[in-house]
């Protein structure tokens, strides 16, 4: 996945839309902020998620962060390989570290997401 071509949420998830299926992951910026992740809780295929709602969690030793879905829809697949190898999340957040695929009910959900340039500016302002 080319990070410059992705859409980003303010809660630091990235989205790539292919047909009506959105692949969602966590941005490199967010992964670095979280540091030393130890656990990820993923949804199951078939789960319904709504836009802006939590669909999972990532944990470090002393913190928990919710993962928020930038789109509404049905979970097609979760990247269960992450459960055994969280390193993929930090080593390759835009590739092997993808988190979940969701069949999007409403493609216009992506409209209010940021492009890469806007997201970079947003991260700088957070820094």
């Amino acid at each position: 996945m080319d990070p410059s071509q992705l859409k980003y949420a303010r809660t630091h998830e990235w989205v790539h839309l292919d047909g009506d299926v959105a692949t969602i992951g966590i941005s490199k910026f967010a992964v670095e902020e979280l540091t030393d992740l130890v656990y990820i809780e993923l949804p199951s295929a078939g789960d319904q998620v709504s836009k802006g709602a939590s669909f999972g969690e990532v944990e470090s030793v002393k913190a928990v962060s919710d993962l928020y879905s930038p789109v509404a829809g049905e979970v097609v697949e979760a990247n269960n390989a992450l459960a055994d190898d969280l390193a993929a999340l930090s080593d390759d957040p835009y590739g092997k570290g993808w988190v979940v695929r969701i069949r999007v009910s409403n493609p216009s959900d992506l409209d209010d997401l940021m492009d890469a340039a806007a997201y970079e500016e947003y991260c700088n302002s957070q820094g």
């Binding site: 030393d36 130890v38 656990y39 944990e59 470090s60 030793v61 002393k62 969280l86």
Partner: protein, 491 residues
């Protein structure tokens, strides 16, 4: 030299065929066990447990004990935890046959001494709180919070009010929101304010007819007295809500001011902190609650009542309050810890109790003053019984974190302060010396922190050096938690 052999795990020390106990032969007529309990209920094989001699067990645990820091061995300025000296007389007295071997279902007539102690404890806790109705039942502070919130919920239900919201400051102990959620309330957390105190205006914006309870620790977790507390309490009351005082920091105000006098409707004590029931490496505690009279009927049962007959004979009885929320735990309460609190209060009396808080405040302010050049305190001019210093300056200038400082203190023979709590202070070091420490100890602690402030940061990142282990890899442990011993661990 440390004895590394005896501190192997029990399971590694085990040798088949060893035993530590011998039990009497059965003295009742022998019958086949199948006649007593059909085989389908019985285990086919015994559980796989270690086999050790008595001396193995003793040497193992005595050596393990030397791998702990404790109040008996070290200065333990762990903020929010009130690690004061635990008087030895309490241990002997709590172990007296008449107290330690009393069955919880012994009838009242045969438990009068115990019930008298518990009744007097209720009375004393009510007086210290300025809140007259007391339940000794909760097992710890968190359960005291939960109990009080259930009391509040029952009270509102009886009044036909639907109040769903519990509000607390961001500096609150995690137990506050956790207890509120457990009791079925929605949680509203206030944003931190620059002063470290609750901002009345911000609180006001959240108060409405859905507000059930405002929970506040006073002095708060920054060690600051909430000076607007009576105004805050008035605002909550005006909105029809109740004020809950988290009593974790009661050691600062004993006999000086009372939760009931500054607007609290309900509170819990941590007897294991304030009244020196020992902490036992994590428990047991006791978390009795005190509430205003109009909430008394909702308290969990049983409580102890005193009856005086016409001829003056006094009898103590157990009773359930008329609209009791029910029962929070089995039996009466964590009596062993309540007893220690009782012994403490009977030893101190009113003046002694006030002296506790005065000296806790004195010690904390003295230490705060001694450390301000290297570990400044962002909020407040003075503190009550504890203060939250920040290592941010050291982190920015030298890359030394609060954790580095905490770990290095262990090498100097001091237990570390609480670190990274409350979250509202960057690189927080929460320091509570308690009243049972000398100026010499506080000076030595200050000297150690000053020495650390000049030590090589690289060296500090690896500290401690003198403890049995150093810097456990919590990330690896978090990814693959190993929570029990299995034989393959040793392969």
């Amino acid at each position: 030299m440390k004895n590394e052999q005896a501190t192997q795990l029990l399971f590694e020390l085990s040798v088949p065929g060893r035993t530590a106990t011998r039990w009497p032969d059965s003295d009742v007529p022998d019958r086949p066990i199948d006649d007593l309990i059909p085989s389908r209920y019985r285990a086919e094989s015994a559980p796989s447990m270690p086999e050790l001699t008595e001396a193995d067990v003793v040497r193992h645990f005595v050596n393990l004990s030397t791998r702990n820091f404790s109040v008996d061995t070290h200065f333990y300025p762990l903020g929010s935890c009130t690690m004061k000296y635990n008087p030895k007389r309490h241990e002997r007295l709590a172990g007296l046959d008449g107290l330690g071997n009393l069955h919880p279902y012994q009838r009242e007539e045969d438990s009068q001494g115990m019930l008298q102690i518990l009744f007097e404890m209720q009375e004393m806790l009510g007086e210290i709180a300025g809140l007259p109705a007391v339940s000794l039942q909760p097992a710890a502070g968190a359960q005291g919070e939960f109990t009080s919130l259930l009391v509040a919920a029952a009270y509102f239900r009886d009044r036909g009010e639907k109040r769903t919201k519990v509000i607390f400051p961001s500096s609150a102990h995690g137990t506050n929101p956790a207890s509120a959620a457990l009791a079925g309330f929605d949680c509203v957390q206030l944003d931190p304010s620059p002063t470290g105190l609750v901002d009345p205006e911000q609180l006001q914006s959240h108060l409405d007819d859905s507000t059930a309870v405002f929970m506040i620790t006073n002095p708060n977790t920054l060690g600051l007295f909430e000076k607007d507390i009576d105004r805050i309490a008035g605002m909550v009351h005006d909105a029809g809500g109740l004020v809950y005082i988290d009593g974790a920091n009661m050691n600062a105000i004993l006999g000086i001011t009372r939760p009931g006098d500054f607007g609290g409707d309900m509170m819990h004590y941590n007897v294991h902190k304030t009244f020196t029931g020992p902490h036992g490496a994590g428990g047991p505690g006791a978390g009795p609650i005190a509430v205003r009279s109009f909430l008394a009927d909702y308290l969990p049962g049983p409580v102890v009542r005193k009856e005086t007959a016409e001829d003056g004979t006094v009898t103590y009885r157990l009773a359930d309050p008329p609209h009791s929320i029910g029962r929070m735990r089995s039996f009466f309460g964590n009596v062993g810890i309540l007893l220690r609190g009782y012994f403490y209060l009977r030893t101190l009396g009113a003046q002694g109790l006030r002296a506790v808080s005065e000296n806790a405040v004195l010690n904390a302010n003295y230490l705060r003053e001694k450390l301000k050049d290297i570990l400044p305190v962002p909020q407040g001019e003075r503190c009550m019984h504890e203060f939250v210093a920040s290592a941010k300056k050291q982190k920015d200038e030298r890359g030394v974190t609060a954790m580095d400082v905490a770990k290095r203190l262990l090498d100097y023979g001091f237990h570390a302060p609480t670190v990274y709590f409350p979250l509202v202070v960057a690189e927080a070091l929460m320091i509570e010396p308690t009243e049972t420490e000398s100026k010499e100890t506080l000076d030595a602690f200050s000297d150690a922190l000053h020495a650390i402030a000049t030590e090589d940061p690289e060296m500090l990142h690896q500290a401690p050096y003198t403890t049995p282990v150093s810097r456990p890899d919590e990330v690896a442990a978090g990814r693959k938690p190993q929570l029990t011993w299995t034989p393959c661990l040793n392969d």
